[in-house]
Amino acid sequence: MKFDTLIIGGGLAGLVCGIALAKKGQRCVIVSSGQSALHFSSGSFDLLNTLPDGSQVSCPDRAWSALAAQAPTHPYVKLGKETFVRLASQVQPFLQKSGVLVQGSGLCNQYRITPMGTLKSTWLTLDDFPVCRMPDRLPWKKVAIFNMAGFLDFYTQFIVDEFRKIGTESSVHLFHFAGLECLRKNPSEMRSTNIARMFEKKENLEKLVLTIRQESGDAEVVLLPAIVGLVAKDGLEMLRCQVEKPLYLLPTLPPSVPGIRTQQILRKCFQDAGGVYMLGDTVKGVEKEGNRIARVYSCNHGDIPFVASNVVLATGSYFSQGLIATPDRVYEPVADLDVVYETGRDCWYDLNLFARQHYQDFGVKTDAGFRGIYQGNVLENLYVAGALLEGFNPIREGSGAGVSILSALYVAEQILSEKL
């Protein structure tokens, strides 16, 4: 199977890279071993919220020099300030053109509402979610929160308490749907996606509109957990039109309905641009010729290899098995690339769950052009993008989505410039 570029990993990084390449006429294939971490998305994309030393970042471009001093192998530092700023400025229009509508404030951070009702710094946020400029104030005095009775992954009382602390009063309204009562037979299945499926039906949305109109009283806005708009976005639009008040979604615990829709939109955009997306296949190994990847073999395709001018590794981190940790080492399973990690297991983690966890900093070593390294030698046609990169701590820094998108865009640029 011959392609210009083979991308291993079909999550945010793989898809962004694939879209950027396919839109420029490259013949691309994405091989993805199962669905991606976008299924747990908060609905926001972080760029950089906190520096490694713990200081808060309000505008990531202005924090670049400090980051360079504290984390010299950070993907953003490898990009260089100019490229970092240039690529970051492209992200919002890029997502927009791909069909994912996000709001943001240039290169500065805003605040999003977490599923627990607290405010947290972020960069870009899906259009359906509320954002605010201040860390300690919401733009409303009174809100009405609607929730599905029995829904397991949305805790209204936490939200009410947190909102009260910053001066916003909330009323909570539970609604019932006969059609969903049967879901409760299964103790674990009253999940966002099951509920969202029911709201794909117009008649159910109409009932919801009626309930919201009757009960929202004098609240300024209506807040609803993200349980609408799994497949078709027009459901949410209809809700917004008919409720007669501003309506926003709040993130739920996973699975994330807006995250799943984002995944599907990006995948479709990639396929519409001519890309081939192979789901549920695992790369078994690569065959090298000198410092190049010549052939890539997968479980499903057996003796028929992928042959591509360039290979992009966007396999994610531990969750997606892009990195694998054994009791004594951390390795990269596809090409056995050189991985940076500390040798003593004791320094991998901190017993305080909320402290900085060092294993999160581990990752695949690359050269300045994001090319992977095998036993000290740079592989000329293997690029690395996204969560498996070395030198950053996505949880601590709030930089996961930014690193995925920016490294993917950069790798795509590298590959395209090579062609000329």
Partner: protein
């Protein structure tokens, strides 16, 4: 001591991190709330079942074994296999006469083909459908696949000698559908392979792959048939060094993966030599071994539908690429989603609504695609699509045969 090493199950179920992604993509859970979804039916309840079989939930019968949960799983858990094995091991429900009739495709086919015109006409009659519905619980709205008047095997006997003339040979696992319902597909395959300079042989003995027996609970019979098939395949592959090709994605998937995973039949020595015809031809053409000449007077636009077991095999790429290689064939690729029939599942009265509910999105997409016909590698998808849309449905090999330039 590393305890982790001693604590690995065969279906990877301890790797489940409860992320629920499988349930998000389960076609049954999307339309039938009585089904608890693959996460609960699979790894969650497996923990309980390992403790006490008492915890087995008969709602697992709603699983259609499409394996889309496994395709979606980020942790490589064999969720579909866990569910099917639990059904095999713990289900107390005895198969009914209807299940026996639906599952025994060989028997029903052998009885019906000699009287095909009569059987087809009878099965199409309203009163007959009403009786089947009332007595056997086979839904009256379901149309039956037509039986052929004479089997593929009997047609082949007349070709056998001609096939021997080719220096290169493959074995063909035709399956029940080609044999009893639609010999034309087998004939098309022979024509295409011959055009590539390859002769087609049948296996020494071939029985139904057993997929319907497994899903209807006739495990011992499925195992017997599987053993017979694997013996025949082994003879072709090992003794005669002849690869085995098939035209049904489900037969292929069953022989390669369900035999070892669900029936415990070792096939590792032959598994990689059993594949779909489209994959075989793709490889051949990619390696420059063979050339086909196509007619230029006919233009068609087709939509390719990816059957569930094709999605699991990951091989729709080959069928789609081959179709794209035919000049004057324009290919639209439909979203990969279940059509809802799931073999014998959709024939059962209690599943009819679920079956049609699952397929609804696909049917709409097909109608909106503006194509001459739908192309797919699965015979039961074909029945479902032809019954539920206005479009005719063909196998990629048949499209190939139709577009070949007649010598």
């Amino acid at each position: 001591m590393n305890l982790q090493q001693h604590n690995v199950s065969e279906n990877n179920f301890e790797q489940c991190i409860k992320c629920t992604v499988c349930t998000v993509y389960c076609p049954v859970a999307a339309v039938n709330p009585a089904y608890p979804g693959p996460k609960q039916a699979g790894p969650d309840e497996e923990r309980l079942r390992l403790k006490k079989p008492y915890f087995y939930d008969e709602a697992l019968k709603y699983c259609i074994n499409c394996k889309r949960c496994e395709v979606a799983c980020p942790s490589n858990v064999k969720i579909g296999d866990i569910i099917q094995l639990a059904r095999i091991k713990y289900s107390k429900k005895k198969p009914t006469l209807r299940d026996f009739m639906l599952a025994n495709t060989d028997l029903m086919g052998s009885l019906s083909t000699p009287l095909a015109p009569l059987v087809n006409a009878t099965l199409g009659l309203k009163p007959v459908k009403a009786v089947l519905d009332g007595v056997l619980k086979i839904d009256h709205r379901r149309s039956f696949p037509k039986y052929a008047f004479g089997t593929f095997e009997s047609w082949y006997k007349k070709q056998a000698e001609k096939q021997l003339a080719f220096s290169q040979q493959v074995s063909y696992f035709h399956g029940c559908y080609v044999n009893y319902n639609y010999p034309q597909l087998g004939k098309d395959l022979v024509r295409v392979m011959n055009a590539l300079g390859i002769g087609v042989q049948l296996l020494r003995k071939e029985k139904c792959c057993g997929v319907a027996l497994i899903s209807n609970g006739f495990i011992d019979q499925a195992r017997k048939q599987a053993e017979l098939n694997v013996d025949s395949i082994r003879e072709a592959v090992v003794e005669k060094n002849r690869p085995v090709i098939a035209t049904s994605s489900t037969c292929t998937f069953t022989i390669r993966d369900e035999y070892p995973h669900l029936l415990g039949i070792a096939n590792a020595d032959v598994r990689d030599r059993v594949e779909l015809a489209t994959r075989y031809i793709y490889r051949l053409l990619s390696q420059g071994g063979g050339k086909l000449t196509f007619r230029k007077d006919k233009k068609i636009r087709v939509a390719y539908h990816t059957p569930c077991h094709m999605e699991k095999l990951g091989w729709s790429y080959y069928s789609i690429e081959l179709l794209k290689r035919i000049p004057n064939v324009e290919v639209v690729v439909l979203d990969s989603q279940c059509c809802g029939i799931a073999g014998t599942y959709g024939f059962k009265k209690e599943n009819y609504a679920t079956s049609q509910g699952i397929g609804q999105n696909l049917f709409q997409q097909i109608e909106a695609a503006g194509v001459d016909c739908v192309v797919t590698d699965c015979e039961t998808c074909k029945w479902q699509i032809e019954m539920s849309t206005s479009k005719h449905c063909e196998h990629p090999i048949s499209i190939f045969a139709q577009m070949l330039l007649c010598e």
